[in-house]
Subunit: 452 residues, 2 copies
């Protein structure tokens, strides 16, 4: 950190708000598995929205980029800086209010998603979004990326649970959009424009969240099929059955091989489907029984009654990312989304693309949303592996678009998909997209090099 | 219609696409009860998105305003023209595709909401949004206003069910945002920017809708309370109970008096609460029984078992608008929204404001969303009544904001709340709002004089 920049920032924030150096932990996110490490000139930890505004005002006066940072659990490089000031929201961690009777919570950006869920649950309420890394990921970052997760199938992504935002916008103003209200059509939907904008339009400092009564019970089962085609046919049957399911996840053969499931030893495991229902206890039992009947073509169905067995299912599912990463040390993992009826094409297509580039490929993810974590395994530090994976990823994006889908279902563009949007969006739509950025951040200092 | 304008439009659209004159029915919407009637130079009925684009291109070349029009059931004057070309979407009425197995429907803008719901229901699926006037209101207009309705309490407003849009934007381009996919965070959320924009940013020509399995059963009850304070306390209890309810509606004393309920003769009727549950038959029964226990302070609870009795409840609820209008012939009805805990303040405040301006006032609406139809009754054709109602409406907006709410929960700004947004939004937020309009419609020809 240059001493003059540090002195300037100290005059803006005081000693508690500026780190003496730039720790490596502020230069990375989950794209570390792609050997991505950023660089920064300073790290600031403002303690309030006003302090965030003061930093942004300073940045706008001095033309220095600002990279907002939540828990650093993103998969697209959105929080990885390329110079400038890293602005971490970690000190904005107050629950400003929690009103269980009216199903709402007002939290600052640095509160973790796990804290929101635990606080709600203690009062019989439920915050459904469940992107991975709940203990580390922060609600501000989850909103800025519109994070998904398994239960987005029933409940929608994070943005569906936000009724209001406090946002700092250039050149340093704190604005509010929405609030502790459940409907608002007065103005254009600025709230949804900030949701998923990856910190490129404004810095989210607080959010009003909507909650619902916690379901009385939940129950999951895992069914194993001989292959992706059979498995996807079963998923189609599940959807067509109209059962009220909370999550429908899948894991393909190569991903299964990377993640031993203690509950399915010896099973010929080529394709797994995880199905969960949530709701009243009796209804959940009936729904899961009906789902099991629908999955009649399965080789094996694991259907534990105990909470230990249930926990084992989700621990296995949540271990997928690290299990696959552990195979060769690194991975290039995307998050394409396709129409539900094209899921098998996308799963098989991922494998074919990997084979063409001599890469081990696999996929798993949110079958019920048509959202795949299509993954190419690479050796950390091996440039030829990474180059092959980058080429494979481009073919994967083409495939998703050809199938009628999108290049990102939940991770966003970040740096890792930069330049892709203009390949797929119509020119006029992309032009509107870039002009929106200009409206909010005319100097282009907010998280530059991300999203567009 | 001037013959030169008509000739020009005929050259763009052909004979089937241009009306010979300007029927009065294209100059009004539900604000007719406020004596609002517009004027227009021509009415066009394009039959495709490309024809809509051709009209917009012509309008941009000749600098003529274009006012998009759905079913004309809005309450804010959003479809009332003030000169220029009225562009009705009524001929875009194809269901482009319906895939019941994958819970989605692709419809053109002119399909009515009732048609969407019926088509879904015939395959065991459900399109939850239920703004009034389903037979007449069109899905394009419902999306352009992000229409609400009673079931928005459980399911959210219309926008929550839209996964993709086809939109014609100036100067005459057809663009697509989203599609038949359930998640998409690739670009900024242009989709939500069009939703609720009241035709001022683009003209929606088609939408991809998300559906869910139809609930097995639904059941409603109506509870009558001695007054608004007691009724709102009961609503608070209902919310706090955490019961899984689909709708919580209220009707205050003066509105009750305007709408005879055959099922509650002789009951001292000062405040009514309508509660509905949807889901598995057994669960619905249990939920409604539990709700009835929660409403123990009621004077009387109507809890019919028959479908005839159930239908009577909703017929009564849906007759509220016309019943209140019939009292004096006209009304000025707003749609403010407040935090749930301020509902009683808003209901009593509406009455106080009415009294101050010597107007009969009442309210009813979506209690579970804190969304009130606060209404001042007026004599049609009486300017002093209307002037008093306009003054009362301004006080009502102030009240909603003071209570932490918004001036519009579901009707939008249109012409009727024009100028209000800048009174309540922070200057920087309002500046961003106006700049968004400039990005999409730099000449200001799309539905001018609405929203901003």
């Amino acid at each position: 950190v240059s001493s003059s920049l540090r002195d300037d920032l100290l005059s803006v924030l005081g000693a508690g708000g500026v780190l003496p150096d730039v720790p490596r932990s502020y230069l990375i996110d989950e794209t570390e598995t792609r050997d991505v490490v950023g660089r920064a000139d300073a790290v600031v930890l403002p303690a309030s929205a006003d302090e965030v505004a003061a930093v942004l005002r300073f940045a706008y006066e001095t033309r220095i980029p600002v990279v907002p940072r939540g828990g650093g659990t993103g998969y697209a490089g959105g929080a990885v800086p390329d110079g400038g000031i890293v602005l971490s929201l970690e000190r904005l961690k107050a629950v400003r209010s929690f009103d269980p009777f009216h199903w709402r919570m007002h939290v600052e950006a640095g509160v973790t998603t796990a804290q929101v869920r635990e606080r709600a649950r203690a009062s019989g309420l439920y915050f459904p979004p469940d992107p991975g890394a709940g203990e580390q990921s922060q609600i501000g970052g989850n909103i800025a990326t519109n994070a998904g997760g398994p239960h987005a199938f029933k409940y929608g992504t994070t943005g569906a649970w936000v009724t209001g935002l406090e946002v700092v916008v250039p050149p340093g103003d704190v604005i509010h959009v929405g609030g502790p209200i459940r409907k608002d059509v007065a103005g254009y939907d600025l709230k949804h424009l900030f949701i998923g904008s990856e910190g490129t339009l404004g810095i989210i400092t607080a959010a009003w969240l909507r909650l619902i009564p916690a379901p009385e019970a939940s129950r999951a089962i895992v069914a194993f099929f001989p292959g992706a085609v059979e498995g996807c046919a079963a998923i189609d049957e599940l959807l067509g059955s109209g059962l009220d399911l909370a999550a429908i996840e899948f894991v393909d053969e190569e991903a299964l091989a990377a993640t031993p499931a203690a509950f399915a030893p010896g099973v010929g495991r080529a394709f797994a489907i995880l199905v969960e229902a949530e709701g009243a206890t009796a209804a959940v039992g009936e729904t899961i029984e009906a789902a099991a009947e629908t999955l009649v073509g399965a080789d094996f169905i694991y259907s534990p009654e105990t909470s230990v067995g249930q926990a084992a299912i989700w621990r296995w599912r949540e271990g997928m990312t690290s299990g696959v990463t552990a195979q060769l040390g690194g991975k290039v993992s995307e998050d394409v989304v396709v129409p539900l009826d094209r899921l098998a094409d996308a799963i098989l297509g991922t494998r074919e693309i990997g084979a063409r580039h001599a890469l081990r490929a696999c996929s798993w993810g949110h079958a019920g949303d048509g959202n795949l974590h299509s993954t190419f395994m690479v050796r950390r530090g091996d440039p030829s592996d990474f180059a092959a994976a980058d080429r494979a990823a481009l073919e994967l994006f083409d495939l998703a678009i050809r199938l009628g889908g999108s290049i990102s279902g939940e991770h966003g563009i970040g740096t890792q998909k930069l330049g892709q949007l203009e390949r797929y969006w119509q020119p006029r739509a992309y032009e509107l997209h870039t002009k929106l950025k200009d409206v909010f951040d005319p100097l282009g200092l907010l998280n530059p090099g991300k999203k567009l």
